[in-house]
Amino acid sequence: MKVEEELFAPGLEDLFENAPCGYLSTAPDGTILKVNRTFEQWTGYDRRQLVGRKRFAELLTPGGRMYHETHYAPLLQMQGEAREIALELVGADGSRLPALVTSVVVADGEGKPQVIRTTVFDASERRRYEEELLQTREREREIARQLQRSMLAGELPAAPGLQVGASYRPADNALEVGGDWYDAFWLGEERLGMVVGDVVGKGIGAAATMGQLRSAVRALASTGLRPGPLLEALDDYTHRHGVGATTTVVYAQLDLASRELRFACAGHLPPILVEPESGPHLSWEGRSTPLGLRIPGPRPESACVLPTGSLFLLYTDGLVERRTQPIDSGLERLQAEVAERREEPPPALAPNLLRALGTGEHGDDACVLALSLG
């Protein structure tokens, strides 16, 4: 067929009726005025059942009709068109046709809407593909979640007079796992290592980084390194393997015989120490830059002896940060909450603090690790 024939011979009628898309015109209130043959074939309706008898929205699923009323129709009225909206048409036999729908309003000289013209494209294939993509995304999230859970699980150390509790809360709204982790483990019979860290980023990548750093800390700690030198070794690890730069982490060691607690903080929020005779206070000692950002010189560490009845707390910023408030007020809230709950044993205290503080807003996860020494 020549180009001229395609343009003129079939006639406009044929171009309209047999267009490769459904085509319909409606009144401003949605009443169907005209449909083409393709639309009839796709929906299984005869035009006599539609024209003047049904509104476009009546051909949608109930959920789609709600969407039409709350989004589609308002958009059309506000901007004169609505593009590429995914809806499902319900055919005469009840079958569903996933469709992409675009409408434009035709107005008279004074801007008053006269007619709405709508095209309907079959989107069955596309919808199937989109569903597969969504499932894949969900699977990946689940893998990351499992990965993270497996790293946070496990039994926490306990001994006469010693109690350790930990709790993790994923971010609210979280599409992906966050990068917070905690860990506590024995180093020989009388010594204990504790870590809380926050890896930059989210998702599988962050979970994998977290796993590497967690193993590295455990391995380095077992060689007997003290907190300061351990963080330096972790710096080297970060450089050598190109993982975990700018992670913030705090590492602490407790010797049960001497009751000596030593800790070092790489860019992380300060631990909270509660001694029996005083209220909670932030330990701003033993601080240095986040991992991989080391300035020359050794990383400092802090040491103290825990009196009977002490409580020691590590946590991440998700516990104290809110976008609309300065972090100082979050730290104050945390201290007040700890003071209030000072008598709670760590296994109860950790989850209670998470519940009481922070909302998990803006995709930030949070964790708490608490230790008490009687």
Partner: protein
């Protein structure tokens, strides 16, 4: 952050006049009132705003806990009234915001002179002896529709929209932008909207109220409007000859006429 910034407040008309506060419903933003409010700017202090999570509001102020019930939205309205020192308020609420107005007027009855409830529904899901018009499956269907339509919202666009609060025109150029929302927030707002039950609250409102009912509304059918009128001690229903759930867009003149007449009476 001020409430005015948080809720993207815009004002028109004389400051000293009686305030008329327009609250948009689920789905879009304050633009829903664009054909109605100009009628009132000569005689009223017109105040428009976006609910947190919608339109030009500050998305970082979205707190899932606060907004897990309509009470949080009502508290926002009261905070806004306090900040702008609005008294003797005419509250005009569309769709879900009709119930937000009911809750606000119950909490601080002295602050509100009149309520206008456009297409109100105290409960969307059918219950024993009550027809709301929907089932739980229908609501799930809506959530699915929303999921396949992230209007003007993709991960590429989100930073542009969120990162330029001082340059709203960047966002405005996007098609479908009047109804764009963060998908997570929209999902939550839909659940709060369509799963709420405020039937018990209606009887507590002493404020003279107008129920504006569209003759054919697929979201809030006439019998629901009649229920609201019956349950509220000082409400009367006016029928608008309009199809759909948004007479503020499809029949703005009739809507403004009815509000004017109610305020004169």
């Amino acid at each position: 952050m001020t409430v005015s910034v948080r809720n993207n407040v815009s004002e028109h008309g004389p400051r000293e006049a009686q305030p008329i506060l327009f609250a948009h419903g689920f789905g879009c933003d304050q633009n829903m009132w664009r054909f109605v409010w100009p009628r009132f700017e000569a005689d009223y202090r017109v105040v428009l705003f976006d609910h947190v999570g919608a339109g030009g509001s500050d998305l970082s102020a979205y707190d899932p806990e606060r907004y897990s019930s309509l009470q949080g939205y009502a508290e926002d309205v009261l905070e806004l009234c306090r900040e702008l020192d609005l008294r003797d308020v005419v509250f005009v609420g569309h769709s879900v915001s009709a119930m937000v107005g009911v809750l606000a007027a119950t909490a601080e009855p002295d602050r509100f002179a009149r309520l206008v409830l456009v297409g109100p529904s105290p409960r969307y899901i059918d219950d024993d002896g009550y027809v709301g018009g929907f089932s739980r499956e229908d609501i799930e269907g809506l959530l699915e529709s929303m999921e396949s339509n992230y209007l003007g919202w993709s991960s590429q666009m989100a930073p542009v929209i969120m990162g330029n609060p001082d340059r709203p025109e960047l966002g405005e150029e996007l098609i479908n932008s009047f109804c764009r929302t963060d998908p997570e927030i929209a999902n939550r707002f839909a659940r709060v909207t369509f799963l709420s039950d405020n039937r018990e609250d209606l009887g507590r409102v002493k404020t003279p109220s107008l129920v504006l009912q569209c003759s054919e509304d697929a979201i809030a059918p006439e019998e629901v409007g009649r229920f609201v009128e019956r349950e509220m001690p000082a409400a009367r229903l006016v029928m608008l000859d309009a199809v759909g759930h948004c007479p503020n867009l499809s029949a703005p003149e009739a809507t403004a006429d009815a509000i004017e007449e109610f305020l004169r009476g």
